[in-house]
Subunit: 173 residues, 2 copies
DNA sequence: GGTCACCAACTAACCAGTTGGTTGTCGTCG
DNA sequence: CGACGACAACCAACTGGTTAGTTGGTGACC
């Protein structure tokens, strides 16, 4: 009856539900309802709640990694762009936090994630002459900074952005 | 029968259980078992699972806020000491992450947390001549940095510490 | 006698995952 | 052409295990 994109609708609905409540707090019936789909379709396509959760992450991880192209030559600008992305997609941030807590080490084994990280480290090495370690550290620091600012953005967004830009500039000094 | 510290044992057991599984994933029976106590004692002292969770946070928040005394004159050292504390108490970090996701805005209303933050901002203003906004930003940035490093510490802890120290030094530059 | 504690069983709801029965839409083959 | 099987989808009810919260009955200690 419904157009043939049922798996797509299920993934979207599940992403919302999981972002709000996490894996343990999510309810499969609620996901089915939100998707305007049937519960058995969920199990037909994704076999279990846990696997559905992983499938949602795998579906969204690409958005997360590629939505903001990495720019080793302009880390401050990169940081600000990630901040803007995070603020525009708060549910993606929550989804990642949940996943990190409830499915530890699953993300670290996702090839897309590993490769993306490796590419960034390599780009940093090429652009700055750092060794692997230093590039890895710098990346973790920048992302941590962005994360901290994401969780507590001030009331004046422009100034928040400017302050973040300046902070990263100092880091890369 | 048991020594009269039953509420204490319940709080400790609950802290472990909640740190591992979160609010939705925790099981009250498991907490009772871990505490070597009886389930009704939990409800006698804490009335509900949710309130028990909040009580755990309120119990541990002091540890979190005061275990590492704030030093506005030595932010790099402060950051490193927080990192060490986080690495020594990973379950406290998880507890905070869970709470942030599952009980949003509860922490922001805890007077202890609010006052501690205000005190830090005031100390930063006094020590550096910043305005409220700048002090608030700087604090968020430093804590974000520490958090990022906490989640992805390199294999060489000493170097991780040194790199964090240098990073914060540049921030406060 | 009141408080703290134990044990054990209970309830009432909830929830992941299943099953059976039905409809509509294809493409295929007789 | 038509009917037949395969498939996607729906609804609804069910199973079996789990779980927050309760109750009743017992002992110990102050």
């Amino acid at each position: 009856m419904m157009a043939a994109d049922t798996p797509r609708r299920i993934l979207d609905a599940a992403a919302d539900e999981f972002a709000e409540r996490g894996l343990a707090g999510a309810r499969v019936d609620r996901i089915a309802e939100r998707a305007g789909a049937n519960k058995q379709r969920i199990y037909a396509y994704f076999t279990s709640k846990d696997q559905l959760f992983d499938a949602v992450i795998e579906d969204r991880i690409e958005q997360l990694l590629d939505a903001v192209p990495f720019d080793a030559a302009d880390l401050p600008g990169y940081a600000v762009r990630i901040l803007d992305f995070n603020l525009a997609h708060p549910s993606l941030v929550r989804l990642l936090l949940w996943h990190n807590l409830e499915r530890p080490a699953v993300l670290a084994r996702l090839p897309q994630s590993v490769e993306s990280h490796a590419r960034k480290v390599a780009a940093l090495r090429a652009a700055r002459g750092d060794d692997d370690w230093a590039a890895d550290r710098l990346l973790a620091q920048v992302l941590g900074l962005v994360h901290g600012v994401t969780l507590a953005p001030g009331p004046d967004l422009d100034r928040t952005r400017a302050d973040l830009h300046r902070a990263v500039s100092r880091l890369v000094g």
